[in-house]
């Protein structure tokens, strides 16, 4: 494309940009507008009510539950997924036999459809027929049949475990690519200086992939916060709302109870939380590219 083809630049961009504008950016504004409207028994048509729905949601018993669950869920998944992803990437970067095959196999959960993952693990967790309790009993860890998903104390941890099982391959892939770019001569120099594997990890490897780690963590924070399918299919937010996070609460309020105003208020709160995370991402990213330019 040359300068005189300016029309072509815009002709190529137009379909994608218009579609994203109408289907992604407009609905962001639409959700905010929606949150100021409510439907009542007297008038089924949406009616402007100002901050009334916000007050109702803010003072409800569910709201603090959803906030707390979302924090528990997001922090749990992101932490475990990144730690596991990182160590598996280290393991698959040691030049051991069969690691190409193993890398391909490790990616399997990542490709497995979310609903299938959820159904499979519902079954794995089944108190009587599931493999989890079978293994626990055989290993002598449990005497009775624990109902992982039906118990409000264990349900969230059980769902987090599944999300980590499905999500760690993605983090692993990105860490593996970063590890393969670590300067080999620096690692060798450290070895000659007598550094063991832990020292090499802390002194050489981690500093040189620091940026990828931070970007990866913020990215998985955003993706995890938006998660819907596994949680919904495994627990529908239960038992006793113990696994209701923002996306499941929005779906249930909006499409289960058709209270669009309330659902939109939850949507606005989740947009605000995400805005903070995205701002964090932008700060980290621009910091990283600035350092890259100066170094």
């Amino acid at each position: 494309m040359t300068a005189k083809d300016r029309w072509l630049v815009w002709a190529f961009l137009a379909p994608a940009l218009i579609l994203m504008g109408v289907m992604l950016y407009y609905p962001m504004v639409g959700t905010v507008i929606e949150s100021f409207y409510d439907t009542s028994f007297i008038s089924p048509e949406p009616e402007f009510v100002g901050w009334a729905v916000y007050e109702k949601v803010w003072n409800s018993r569910q709201f603090p539950e959803v906030v707390w669950n979302s924090i528990y869920w997001t922090v749990g998944v992101v932490l475990l997924q990144n730690v596991l992803g990182f160590f598996v990437a280290m393991l698959l970067n040691q030049g051991l036999p069969a690691q190409g095959l193993l890398r391909a196999l490790v990616l399997l959960p990542f490709v497995l459809p979310g609903v299938v993952t959820a159904i499979l693990w519902r079954f794995m967790y089944d108190p009587q027929l599931g493999l989890v309790n079978s293994i626990m009993i055989r290993l002598g860890l449990f005497e009775d049949n624990a109902a992982w998903l039906a118990d409000a104390d264990t349900a969230m941890a059980a769902v987090i475990f599944v999300a980590v099982w499905k999500g760690f391959p993605f983090s692993m892939l990105i860490y593996l690519a970063a590890l393969q770019n670590v300067d080999k001569s620096q690692l060798e120099a450290a070895t000659i200086d007598g550094a063991g594997p832990w020292r090499r990890l802390i002194d050489v490897t981690l500093p040189s992939i620091k940026e990828v780690v931070v970007v990866n963590i913020v990215l998985t924070l955003i993706l995890t916060f938006n998660y819907f399918d596994i949680v919904w299919v495994m627990t529908r937010g239960g038992p006793q709302n113990a696994t209701h996070i923002f996306p499941t609460r929005i779906f249930e309020t909006g499409f289960g109870q058709f209270r669009f105003g309330e659902a939109a208020v939850y949507g606005v709160f989740s947009i605000l939380i995400l805005a903070v995370l995205v701002a964090l991402y932008v700060i980290v990213q621009t910091g990283a590219s600035k350092r890259r330019r100066t170094s």
Partner: protein, 275 residues
């Protein structure tokens, strides 16, 4: 790097543990799908059925499953073709021109990939309802193209940036118009990037659940993930059929992914590490 024999052994043990952690659920899914309905569940569970059979697959491949499968195929197939086409066009503009406004627009594209679908779904639902598109393929295809476009543009732009511009310039000097340059030089060279992006769109749309659940209410229009979710209630604890359906839902994406994973992994990590 050289490892001591004991360290090597420890790492191999870790590899085996990793393989079990990842593969055991898959093995279990396959095993239960092959278990005859007459064979009871043993406690503790047997890892492999005594008399494996395909009868669960035959029962699970019922007419409604075939309808869901066809719906998924149509919706995902159309989304892949449309997203890749629109994204390639947009990515070409983003990759070849350096205007300030394009940089700003590209930031908006990257930002859009982080939008929570659950937070924007109500206005989208209302638009679809107003346009009378609920319970149509079009509603899902439009939504899927929109939500996959940001990452697709980002992946293809990263890919196009690595292609040498000199070939395009040479063709332009030889008198080829910009459209000919695009179709005869850029598109063939971008093939690995196109494949990587297509695999991404397929993986996302094949399992998409939230939009499909909200926009389709009739059995005739449901896609596989929603249909599978319905089976939980319908099948009760007939896990054999449920697992057989799950295997059939997963096989197409797993097969495509394994044939094309080197493209996908290269496309994803190149963009992700480079930023």
């Amino acid at each position: 790097m050289t490892l001591t024999p004991s360290a090597r052994l420890a790492l191999i043990v870790c590899q085996i543990a990793l393989a079990i952690f990842v593969l055991l659920p898959f093995f279990w899914m396959l095993s239960v799908s092959l278990k005859p309905a007459t064979e009871p569940f043993a406690i503790p569970a047997r890892l492999w059925p005594e008399n494996p059979t395909l009868e669960n697959y035959v029962t699970a491949f019922r007419p409604e499953f075939r309808t869901y499968f066809l719906n998924s195929l149509i919706v995902s197939g159309a989304s892949v073709v449309i997203t890749v086409t629109l994204a390639l066009l947009a990515a070409y503009s983003f990759a070849r021109r350096t205007l300030l406004i394009l940089t700003a627009l590209m930031s908006l594209v990257v930002l859009a990939q982080m939008f929570p679908h659950s937070a924007i779904i109500i206005p989208i639902y209302k638009m679809m309802r107003a346009a009378d598109l609920l319970n149509t393929y079009a509603s899902l295809i439009i939504a899927y193209v929109s939500v996959t476009l940001p990452v697709a543009i980002w992946m293809l732009r990263g890919f196009l940036l690595k292609l040498p511009v000199s070939l395009e310039e040479a063709a332009a000097i030889d008198g080829a118009g910009p459209l000919r340059v695009f179709f005869e030089i850029v598109v063939p060279l971008a093939r690995p990037g196109i494949i990587a992006t297509a695999v991404y769109v397929l993986i996302v749309t094949w399992q998409e659940f939230l939009f499909a659940l909200s926009f389709t209410s009739t059995r005739e229009m449901r896609t596989l993930p929603v249909g599978l979710n319905d089976f939980i209630g319908q099948y009760g604890i007939r896990y054999g059929e449920l697992m057989a359906s799950s295997v059939m839902v997963s096989l197409p994406v797993i097969a495509v992914f394994f044939f094309l994973q080197r493209y996908f992994v290269a496309g994803l990590t190149a963009g992700a590490v480079k930023g």
